[in-house]
């Protein structure tokens, strides 16, 4: 091959190489543009999702405001007795503070609803015999001291002496699950 022809061939090769390089760069730019467009679309979707979550949060917040107010007011009372022992101790204290004549007491832990947030309750069966006013005042103080307690059974009968009453009461105190 003559030298002029070689030079032309070399120039043609260089021209082709440049065109190839420019085309590769164009493809890379095109790919970058696609990625950028996709990312923009994803960003808009993500921002829409965030806005939707914000709206849902506000709606949920408004819808459950009263419930959560109840929850915040009652939480300390329900959490005051984490174990049956705590609840039992509290009842014993109230009996002692009330200075009522206790005939019998029985405590047991009973399952209320295992799937619920309140799966168990301490059940206290108490028999008290004392002055009518004193016994009823004590019962009122008990319900006041443990606002979350539930008196499930209450029987009042005449007592053995004068103004006494025989009070049989069953109290349930909710024990929160862990």
């Amino acid at each position: 091959m003559k030298s002029h022809q070689s030079a032309c061939a070399f120039l043609l090769f260089l021209t082709g190489a440049m065109l190839y390089g420019v085309n590769a760069l164009r493809n890379a730019t095109s790919a970058a543009r696609d990625l950028s467009t996709q990312a923009q679309s994803e960003a808009e979707t993500a921002e829409q999702m965030a806005q939707l979550a914000q709206i849902q949060l506000k709606t949920l917040d408004a819808k459950t405001a009263q419930l959560r107010l109840l929850q915040s007011e009652w939480k300390p009372h329900f959490e005051a007795h984490r174990t049956p022992q705590d609840a039992e101790q509290r009842i014993v204290e109230i009996i002692r503070e009330g200075d009522v004549f206790l005939i019998s007491q029985k405590f047991e832990t009973r399952e209320t609803d295992k799937d619920s947030l309140i799966p168990t309750a301490l059940v206290a069966d108490l028999v008290v015999e004392d002055d009518y006013a004193k016994a009823l005042n004590w019962l009122g103080r008990l319900e006041e001291a443990i606002p979350s307690c539930r008196i499930s059974k209450c029987t009042l009968e005449r007592g053995d002496r004068g103004n006494d009453i025989h009070l049989i009461v069953q109290i349930q105190i909710p024990i929160l699950g862990s």
Binding site: L11, L35, S36, R68, L117, L136, S148, S152, C154, R158
Partner: protein, 182 residues
């Protein structure tokens, strides 16, 4: 004599013929392509950098939006958890209205001729908001029962399935009490 080198150089014969005219376009095309390539490369390079910067910015926006969404979803979950807890509390409290005021109201409603022989207040185990009341009054009668019921109604209780049996010296009354808040 003026140019001794020229004088030394001898005339040489062409070793090859010149390029055909079409071949002369090759260098021109090369220069044209080189110039265009330089321009286009710069153009595409700058475009690519811009797109990459935009993509990075979008990725930041995605991350920020996802983080915000996660925070909001966590807040929603916290509210849902609180609500579930509140529902459990409310369900329990529905069946936990104090009964001592009922017992006191019944006792205070007794007239001079009547006394409470026995009073039983039992909650329905299935529906604790329903309290079954059994009352035995010595003396008095229907009038006394009415007075006692008025005292119970004053505590916002309603009675259902009321039954009254009047004996010789006593009156038995039973009913289901439901607090109006339920």
């Amino acid at each position: 004599m003026n140019d001794p080198i020229h004088d030394l150089k001898t005339e040489r014969q062409n070793v090859s013929a010149g390029l055909p005219p079409a071949y002369k376009l090759v260098p021109a095309a090369f220069y044209l392509v080189a110039a265009a390539s330089a321009f286009l490369s710069l153009y595409f390079y700058l475009g690519k950098k811009t797109y990459q910067a935009t993509e990075a910015e979008m990725r930041d926006r995605i991350s920020a939006a996802q983080a915000e969404e996660s925070t909001l979803v966590a807040s929603q979950q916290a509210i849902v958890d609180e609500s579930k807890q509140a529902e459990a509390y409310a369900k329990w409290l529905e069946g936990s209205h104090p009964l001592q005021p009922v017992a006191v109201a019944v006792g205070r409603s007794m007239s001079k001729d009547s006394t409470v022989a026995a009073l039983t207040l039992n909650r329905n185990p299935e529906i604790p908001a329903h309290t079954f009341l059994q009352l035995k009054i010595d003396g008095g009668g229907s009038g006394q029962i009415e007075t006692t019921l008025d005292a119970i109604y004053a505590l916002d209780y309603q009675t259902y399935s009321a039954q009254q049996v009047k004996g010789e010296k006593s009156t038995d009354f039973q009913a289901t009490l439901i607090h109006s808040a339920n």
